[in-house]
């Protein structure tokens, strides 16, 4: 897919996300919008995946772990649009009996999900485990993760960061959705992450940065990241993003971390996000 086509998918995913959360009456729209462009770029361009035949093991395909599980509406929409399950199922988000649980779960059997997430800070370790197994099996495919920036306050992230570098887990590309907002306010005011690039570099990672709401930049950065793999070091991409990206009244406001849009707000938001692939 070219950049225009990917932008078109991202537009639809943003519509899906807001409609899904409005339909559920709860959810996390802000971060779902800030990470949309990255997840679309992965699944529709850069990752080698097999949506028709999903397996837990993901042998000889790339796998993705969403560590900040609360932004799952974006992933759910991308997986449906990519063919893992019918897009009509998106209407069931957070409803009783749905495979689209409020936070990702494997107990309901949703294709594309390999691990529960929601309790933060755990996805990097899980991904490292999968990456180590791929190495044992001689499987040259790549493991990807996405994390929230606030999530990096969890100590386990840094256990995993140290471990991955120490064990040369170099088939791993992680990314941080660096939108600078968490529930209680600006990350810098809650507990500052300091010099994030220097932190990851000092832990032994290769660190790349890009505008995480610009698909063209994301693609260039991912291609560069891939070219640096299998060289002894894991790669981290700091995605400079804006919470609520795509809807003017949601931009850069932590109120939208975990608040559903009401019908009026939804209608105003959807006017800024034209339908591209057809609504579910």
């Amino acid at each position: 897919m070219n950049v225009n086509e990917l932008n078109s998918v991202a537009m639809q995913v943003r519509r899906d996300v807001l409609r899904m959360i409005n339909g559920a009456g709860s959810g996390h729209p802000g971060g779902s919008l800030s990470c949309t462009d990255y997840i679309v770029s992965l699944y529709f361009s850069e990752m080698n995946v097999n949506p028709e035949k999903f397996t837990m093991k993901g042998e000889n395909e790339d796998v993705f772990y969403l560590s900040n599980g609360h932004v799952c509406p974006a992933l759910y929409s991308v997986l449906a649009r990519r063919g893992y399950y019918p897009v009509s199922e998106l209407a069931t988000l957070r409803k009783f009996g749905s495979r689209l649980q409020g936070h990702p779960s494997i107990s309901h059997g949703l294709p594309g999900i390999r691990m529960a997430s929601g309790s933060l800070g755990q996805g990097l370790s899980v991904a490292i485990g999968h990456a180590l197994a791929k190495k044992l099996d001689g499987d040259k495919s790549i493991v990807y993760t996405l994390h929230g920036d606030g999530e990096l306050q969890e100590g386990q992230i840094w256990e995993a960061a140290m471990f991955a570098a120490a064990k040369n887990v170099d088939n791993l590309i992680s990314a941080v959705d660096y939108n600078h907002l968490q529930i209680d306010g600006r990350v810098e005011q809650v507990v500052s992450l300091g010099d994030l690039k220097a932190k990851w570099e000092s832990f032994g990672w290769i660190v790349l940065e890009c505008n995480g709401n610009n698909i063209s930049e994301i693609l260039t950065t991912l291609k560069k990241a891939k070219s640096m793999l299998f060289n002894g070091k894991p790669v981290m991409i700091l995605l400079h993003t804006t919470m609520g990206f795509g809807v003017d009244f949601m931009l850069d406001d932590c109120k939208w971390h975990g608040t559903a849009l009401n019908d009026e707000q939804l209608s105003a938001a959807l006017k800024q996000l034209p339908e591209t692939l057809g609504d579910y």
């Binding site: 779960s105 390999r114 800070g121 755990q122 899980v126 490292i128 999968h130 197994a133 386990q156 064990k167």
Partner: protein, 317 residues
């Protein structure tokens, strides 16, 4: 009663080490992880035999458990081993979300459990772990009684598919089981048939229960001794069959009363065939430094304490 001899004195953790090596030889999907306790939890021989399948995680247990969950997702059979406290309480949320809820085939291997850890004191003497683990839906909880049985339990855990908790100890204790005694996860082991009382014991206290059984025999009391090596799933059928015959029961465990074997057995007994029950367990207290035998006596977990509990239970029939 059936006679059990002390065949050897060995630590149950060494049984784990032997079992892990056997499991690794039998199935190349078996991998092992530790958090800077390779020697203490007896993973040395596995690490030497299979260096590519052994992961030293350093002092970072949360990361270790979730790395294990990732390895399991990719089809491996990870055995993650450390001290019981660090394998459970310290990493409860990791186990809850990524092992139990996500139904991963991870084997959590917890050594140095209970007061018989001894001199290290209460920070390390985990007495809550069985409760923590059995509360998680889908978790299998295994507590082998001696060195030999832990070899069998470890091999069985590798073949069992699903989240598994394997609890064992540090000190040398009597070895009395033999390789020909069948070990099946979820199947209680009838060690001695009796008619006056059922003693359900687990872990190191199974031997204490057998010693108590001999002492009771001298008093003319016929005790049935059943080894509940699998706390979950519990062999309810064997428990009910026994109490229907004997009419009273005593449980014996190196664990807090809350959340341990007594809880599990009492649930089964109350539902199906209520009888008087007494417990030998730690009664809402912290451990302390001492030798294993000093501590078993001080916390009323030794064979004499089991005898005392049996006498109380029989009176209530």
């Amino acid at each position: 009663m059936k006679s059990y001899k002390i065949l050897d004195n060995k630590d149950t953790r060494s049984g784990f080490g032997v079992g892990l090596l056997q499991a690794g030889q039998a199935d190349e999907r078996v991998v092992a992880l530790t958090a800077d306790l390779k020697g203490s939890v007896k993973m040395d021989s596995f690490a030497k035999a299979f260096p590519d399948r052994f992961y030293e995680c350093g002092i970072a247990e949360a990361n270790m458990i979730d790395v294990a969950a990732g390895l399991a997702t990719a089809g491996k059979i990870p055995f993650a081993g450390t001290f019981a406290n660090f394998a459970t309480a310290r990493v409860y949320d990791q186990i809850r979300q990524c092992v139990a809820y996500s139904n991963k085939n991870v084997k959590i291997c917890a050594s140095h459990a209970g007061v018989t850890l001894g001199e290290d004191g209460a920070t390390h003497q985990t007495l809550e772990d069985i409760g923590l683990m059995k509360m998680l839906p889908g978790m299998t909880v295994i507590v082998p009684c001696d060195y030999q049985q832990n070899i069998q339990a470890t091999v069985a855990a590798a073949k069992h598919v699903g989240p598994t908790y394997l609890r064992f100890g540090r000190p040398k204790r009597p070895v009395f089981t033999t390789p020909d005694m069948e070990f099946v996860i979820g199947k209680a082991q009838l060690l001695n048939e009796g008619k006056d009382v059922s003693i359900f014991a687990t872990g190191h206290l199974v031997w204490e229960a057998l010693v108590a059984c001999e002492k009771l025999e001298e008093r003319g009391i016929s005790a049935e001794v059943i080894n509940i090596h699998t706390i979950k799933p519990l062999d309810v059928e064997a428990i009910i069959k026994s109490v229907m015959k004997t009419g009273c029961a005593v449980t014996a465990e190196e664990h807090q009363l809350n959340g341990g074997l007594f809880d599990s057995v009492a649930q089964a007994v109350i539902r199906h065939n209520p009888v008087p029950m007494e417990a030998v367990a730690v009664m809402d207290e912290w451990g302390q430094s001492g030798t294993p035998d000093e501590l078993l006596k001080a916390y009323h977990l030794d064979s004499d304490s089991i005898v005392g509990a049996v006498l109380k239970a029989i009176v209530r029939k």
